[in-house]
């Protein structure tokens, strides 16, 4: 393109004796953009080269990972632009459900109110206000790296047009029969009161107490001892499981044991998922509050009583414990056991626990009704494309990981108990519920 009169610096302007990027870089960033040199046009006849850059969180600030990602992507697209391609380097933001909602909730808290006090509609309006004021700062920071994106095309995953795409996709997948509603175990944050994906967790070592408790056999003398770090969940036990190869307990499989406190007879089952090396080798099975136990429970057709509520406190399923914290409930259960000579041993244990990335509180594995998307059909064509190398991950080790992770992809929990995001396009009727 021809240069205008405002061209600086040009022939004849003395070059400073020492190079100082300050000012120079910002000047070029403004000029490239103002002169339309970052722009991509649909009617350009040259071949296109497109990098739909990962949208950062609308509430986020630039971190070193973003800077690296931009340096890589921009090096490629700048070379392609020079090689004559019609380059589209796509900018935009992700609405980042939980972190945006949390940021606005913090502000409401400072104002002495809450989202529940405001109600859903008013809260959503507040989020938009907040975003107009504070959101999207990161696109200015992308510009400062020199990322040659077509900033006129900034997109946001909550835009009206984008939302239409989300709804179309949802209805499409639903009509295919791949989206369904089911009670399964999920990661639950008792503070944010929502399900979380594995990526929204952090893992840390915690110091706890491992308690060995005797479960009396229902038929005849003797007992089977289990070890647990969570005695508060004992009232939700529905079985005791042992490893099928564990000689110590083999004779007990098929018999029944009495769960302390609730005094319920439950079966002793054999299951290869039990770690025979942990504790006594006998596992209390609590399907509603542990992911492995949930799987064991489903495979053995066991019930799934829930004793912990969405707020992390004891639910009223066990009236004697209703409303207690888990700590209080654990003490009540252990006192009950001690009084009956069932408390065998208490010892310190350091073990990994999952925490909510945002509030650092412990995650509750909880059975809850959520919406799921089956990946069984959806992933088939993707795996084939990867295996045919029609799409390639670099380096090669990551290509193999992508294939493996797709092959293993479980059903996808697509629902969140938040207010900020795309509300599910599902309506139920008064008559049908």
């Amino acid at each position: 393109m021809a240069l205008g009169d405002d061209l600086v610096p040009m022939d004849g302007t003395p070059m400073q004796s020492r190079y100082d990027p300050r000012g120079v870089e910002e000047r070029w960033q403004r000029m490239w953009e103002a002169e339309g040199l970052y722009a991509a046009h649909a009617d350009d006849a040259r071949p296109a080269f497109v990098d739909a850059h990962p949208p950062p969180n609308v509430t986020g600030d630039l971190h070193m990972g973003h800077a690296l990602q931009l340096a890589l992507g921009d090096a490629i697209v700048r070379q392609k632009r020079m090689q004559g391609y019609n380059v589209l380097f796509q900018p935009g933001f992700d609405h980042a459900g939980i972190s945006t909602q949390a940021a606005v909730e913090r502000q409401l808290e400072r104002e002495g109110t809450s989202r529940r006090e405001l109600g859903r509609e008013a809260f959503e309006a507040r989020v938009w206000d907040w975003l107009h004021e504070y959101g999207g700062r990161i696109m200015t920071q992308f510009r400062r790296v020199g990322a040659s994106m077509d900033y006129r095309r900034e997109r946001f995953t909550m835009d009206e047009a984008y939302t239409r795409a989300v709804m179309r996709c949802f209805v499409h997948l639903y009509r295919k029969g791949w989206i369904f509603h089911a009670n399964r175990i999920i990661n639950w944050c008792p503070y944010h009161e929502t399900s979380l994906s594995d990526l929204e967790l952090v893992h840390a070592d915690a110091d706890d107490t491992l308690t060995t408790i005797r479960y009396p056999l229902a038929d005849g003398d003797g007992h089977i001892a289990i070890a647990t770090a969570r005695p508060a969940t004992i009232p939700a036990d529905v079985a005791v499981a042992v490893h099928p190869d564990d000689e110590r307990h083999r004779a007990l499989v098929g018999r029944h044991a009495i769960v302390p406190f609730v005094e319920r007879a439950v079966p002793i089952v054999a299951d290869a998922r039990v770690d025979a090396g942990f504790g006594t080798g006998a596992l209390k099975v609590t399907p509603a509050h542990d992911a492995v136990d949930f799987e064991i429970g489903r495979d053995h057709g066991l019930p799934e009583p829930i004793v912990i509520g969405p707020d992390g406190r004891m639910s009223d399923a066990v009236p004697a414990l209703a409303g207690m914290t888990q700590q209080e409930a654990a003490e009540a259960v252990l006192d009950w056991c001690a009084a009956r000579g069932l408390l065998e041993r208490r010892e310190p244990i350091r073990h990994p626990v999952a925490l909510c990335e945002r509030c650092a509180r412990r995650i509750e594995p909880l059975i809850s009704p959520q919406w799921w998307c089956s990946m069984d059909e959806l992933k088939r064509a993707a795996i084939a494309a990867l295996e045919a190398r029609d799409v390639r991950f670099h380096p090669e080790t990551q290509h193999r990981f992508a294939i493996r992770s797709l092959a293993e992809a479980p059903d996808w929990c697509i629902s969140r108990q938040l207010w900020w995001g795309h509300q599910l396009p599902i309506w139920t009727c008064g008559d049908g519920t």
Binding site: M1, L3, D11, M15, Y19, V24, E25, W28, E35, L37, A42, D43, V50, A52, H53, P54, L62, M64, G65, A67, Q69, A71, G73, D74, I76, R78, M82, D94, V145, G146, S148, R153, Y162, A165, V166, R168, C169, H181, N183, D299, W371, A381, A382, A385, L386, R392, F393, Q398, I414, L418, W419, H422, Q423, L424, W427, T428, C429, G430, D431, G432
Partner: protein, 399 residues
């Protein structure tokens, strides 16, 4: 997976699923409808990014022009959550892959190996780094660090980027201050043909490195070309003719600089554009200038300076003056090394003996089958390079 008793209750409900709010229940016609309260996982909308940004589900000119796309860059912990789902949704909804290549970039760790995190206090704010060193140096440094999957952040690579920027700036001033008005390769000397050949060889290397998404070797090649070859050898050798305002030398120098800047641009865009704007007769910006075409006519001279460079190495190390250089090599040696300013008087015979011993040692190693078969390829390669270097150094001092 089996269903629980509670699931059976869920299945009894009447569900109406529509893109826009329905008026009545699909199953019983009831107008008493309530929308589900839950929202979708953020990654649900992310999965549509490559085409929802282009106007899908409408059939827009943008969608036709820019879908399917080409490239994605992301971190490995996002593969399951995002990349896989974009691929699956693109194929399911549009019938075509959203992109062809996915670069999985390293995870940047803090200097002590912990993850970078604001709350741990281990994060480094890239805007601070950019403010101190510039975006170009930061970009250079990050690319230099990107060679493996887990990288500890360090500012050394960024400092190296700043050094490169300064060096390129200074050599550009030297060439531009010669005041030429033409930008055209008219090489009259071996060092001019040589630098044009080196630039072209680096162009080819950058193309293949970028095609393989191998960024660290790419910026290293650029550093080597700019620092060692362009600045330390070519510019020093041609300097006397620039001072004489030799029109051919100046035009050639600016043509070489023009090509070098084009190669630098994808990595250090601002600096290269700034210098480019100082070249005479600019009618375009570098950002939209043509990437250099292959320039094979100087390839025969790609190694023309090997001997004089070996001579310089020996001279700088041991003070031994070269023998057997031809006139051009002697002129280049004098211009670049300026031997008069370095105290001589070294023991040439001792240096020759030392190099012969090194050559014998390297030859013996490379003759050893066990070494060649068992040592890593890079170690064997390095030994071969050393042997070649010793031989050319010995040749340069008449051994």
């Amino acid at each position: 997976m089996g269903a629980s008793a509670a699931d059976l209750d869920l299945r009894r409900r009447h569900l109406t699923v529509e893109e826009i709010e329905p008026r009545a229940c699909r199953e019983c016609g009831s107008a008493d409808l309530t929308r589900e309260q839950d929202v979708l996982d953020t990654w649900f909308s992310s999965a549509l990014w490559p085409f929802a940004t282009l106007g899908w589900p409408d059939d827009t000119p943008d969608l036709r022009a820019f879908y399917p796309g080409d490239l994605q860059t992301t971190a490995r912990e996002i593969i399951r959550l995002w990349e896989n789902r974009m691929i699956a949704c693109g194929l399911e909804l549009l019938g075509e892959l959203p992109f062809r290549d996915v670069i999985i970039h390293p995870t940047l760790l803090a200097r002590d190996g912990r993850r970078m995190s604001k709350s741990l206090g281990t994060g480094v704010d890239p805007l601070d780094v950019i403010a101190e060193y510039g975006a170009d140096a930061t970009r250079y440094g990050l690319l230099k660090l990107s060679s493996s999957q887990d990288v500890r952040f360090s500012t050394e690579a960024i400092v190296e980027g700043r050094r490169l920027a300064n060096k390129l700036w200074n050599v550009s001033r030297l060439l531009l201050q010669a005041g030429g008005g033409e930008v055209e390769p008219r090489p009259a000397t071996v060092e001019e043909r040589w630098v044009l050949a080196r630039i072209d060889a680096t162009r080819a290397e950058l193309e293949s490195r970028l095609a393989a998404f191998d960024f660290a070797p790419a910026v290293q090649a650029l550093y080597h070309l700019t620092f060692d070859e362009f600045c330390d050898w070519y510019a020093e050798a041609v300097k006397p003719r620039l001072y004489e305002r030799d029109a051919d030398a100046v035009a050639t120098a600016l043509a070489a600089l023009e090509r070098l800047l084009a190669l630098v641009h994808p990595f250090m865009p601002h600096l290269s554009e700034e210098i480019w704007s100082q070249l005479p007769g600019r009618t375009t910006r570098l950002i939209v200038a043509r990437w250099p075409e292959p320039q094979g006519e100087y390839a025969a001279d790609a190694h023309a300076l090997d001997r004089v460079r070996a001579a310089a190495t020996v001279f700088r190390r041991a003070g031994v003056a070269p023998t057997g250089l031809d006139d051009d090599e002697r002129r280049i040696f004098d211009a670049v090394v300026r031997p008069g300013r370095t105290p001589a008087g070294a023991d040439a015979e001792a240096e020759r003996a030392r190099l012969r011993a090194e050559i014998a040692r390297a030859e013996a190693m490379l003759a050893n089958d066990r070494f060649r078969e068992r040592a890593p390829a890079a170690v064997v390669g390095a030994e071969r390079d050393k042997l070649a270097r010793y031989r050319s150094e010995l040749a340069a001092i008449g051994g």
